[in-house]
Assembly symmetry: D3
Homo-oligomer: 137 residues x 6
């Protein structure tokens, strides 16, 4: 079993805001991340898949195919977008790195199964210092 | 003459949009950077100053003092903000990396003169692949 | 279960020296790391915690709270210090990356339990090329 | 149990080419990676070993000894070489990152056992965006 | 005047070899860089242009246009190629980082003039530790 | 004229301390950098030389020769040392990044002249955020 990781990037705006809470409580809990007019990040996404290398190609997965799936299902919907307003799979969800990591897993899971390998983890850097990782359970 | 560079970071939302143009022309010229609901970046800022090392300290400039000036004049106004809507010194200006670099120079110039050294350049990375640099003329 | 990683930095002096050994044996085993007048490093610390995202915040942990714990228990005692002489939790211990990683785990474990999440791993880079990681057993 | 990771580098030429296939099929499957006159990469290799710190040294492993083993068994055979033509342990094998990662494991396994610690994983970056990792099964 | 830098990447094989010299002398002067079967690198290219920001766009240059010029004139000819054998503008030239940097300047100069800005420098990293830069004279 | 940059690393201990001042004033001016028992850094050194490429080799300078000069004159004296106590060329000087950058220039200047190229600049990173650069006047 070999693990393959592909790194991709997207830039997006967001804010942390709980609609059930007062503005005061949002500012208290989320601090400057609750700025009403949004802020944004360069996100770095690491998608790790695992499988046996195909003896004819030496590949666990064709990286061009994997990269295209990630682009179509995750990068295009998120890149240069506002994740609270523009992204169907984030509608009504908290725009934290944690939740985004789990939702990216859900977008990719069955497409990657269809490539004949298994999705192992999604790791997402919001900044160079803060990241979240999800293994599917 | 020794050159000292201090690196700082901020995260902000923006869009590229010329108010004199139709929506159609904005999308044609700025592409996905014109997304109406904004997008955002982790900006990396490099401030370079020059001067003679003080023989008593070995310092061209006290980096704690330099860092505080950058924080007060640039990072606090921009960090976790929307640079088109929330930032006084960017009001009515195009939110490109180029213009932002020049405006950051203007915010810092006389504060750094007051420290007894000279501002040499402002370099700003919008992403790891795209940066602008300004030397004051 | 989502894993969250926070990166922090500290700068410290140390030497590798076994008090039970002759100077000759220390030089033989530890080479230039045994320099009697110390040397030092910029250490990079990665603290990974795990838990379920809180549905109200989307957070596994409030990163400001996590960062404050790391600062109080680890960064402040170590930063700009000599880890053989100035750091209570390293007194009488070998100042290797391995031992330091385990001792940082001990400093953080119960504080992180008190935040309602679980400490998963401590990873410490002594240089860009050398790192140690500890998972608690 | 503490995990220690050592990073090393090598530069090599390769191409992806299956001798059982027509030129046409090689180009179709491997794209520009099948360029007949080769292309190349700066590879970054991460070797992770695990063990208990020796109480006399604080070391899981002497990193100078580990680095020498990696140099003799992996870096010297691969560095500034053509991995399809010049490297005994890659002869007749597909020169994919996956296969190379597994073969590097085989080169290092018993040498690292002989140091008194256990090889945990081999991670290999072909580019900053593409990497493979192998844990021995 | 603002300076804009765009970073791009390519992977290529090469060797250092002077056809006027004996094999012995080539090995003596170029060492392992003269390996007859080639070796290779991940090259990182930094193209810096300068100009006045256009008041309507805030741009010194449209980075999509600049990136397309670099791709067509430099990246496509070099990427996944053997620079001694496959690249028209390197034919009969020494494949050193220095010469390659100068030749990339020549490929880009008039295309960038045609964009209405000026080419300032070409910087090329062969590895993370070795780079060359050329300013046109 | 082509500019060549070589990156090297060293790890050292130091403190900032002016012997003419009281302990109180040293702590006031230098803060935690005045810790009496030292602290330390991983320094990154960038040496830039300039010259015309030799038509027979394509080289401005043989990087193996340049690297050896840097190693002998700068890295070996500083690496795994205390720069206030162990380094002849820093004796009696403030151990700031600025002063160290100038002193490294002095160590290298005539050795690099002897290689037939010109020393252009010395850039030294004390941390990822703080650096100094010196051009010889």
């Amino acid at each position: 079993m070999v693990y393959i990781t592909r790194k991709e990037h997207f830039n997006a705006a967001h804010k942390l805001w709980n609609e059930q809470w007062s503005q005061e409580k949002n500012f208290e809990i989320f601090g400057k991340c609750a700025n009403p007019n949004w802020h944004g990040h360069n996100y770095t996404l690491l998608v790790t898949v695992k499988g046996l290398p195909n003896p004819e190609t030496g590949f666990v997965v064709d990286l061009k195919a994997l990269s295209k799936i990630i682009k179509d299902a995750v990068i295009d919907p998120l890149d240069h977008k506002n994740m609270n307003l523009d992204v169907a799979f984030m509608t009504g969800k908290m725009a934290s790195t944690e939740i985004l990591t789990v939702e990216i897993w859900k977008q990719l899971k069955h497409h990657i199964d269809a490539l004949g390998c298994k999705l192992h983890s999604i790791k997402l850097f919001e900044t160079d210092n803060n990241s979240a990782e999800y293994f599917g359970d």
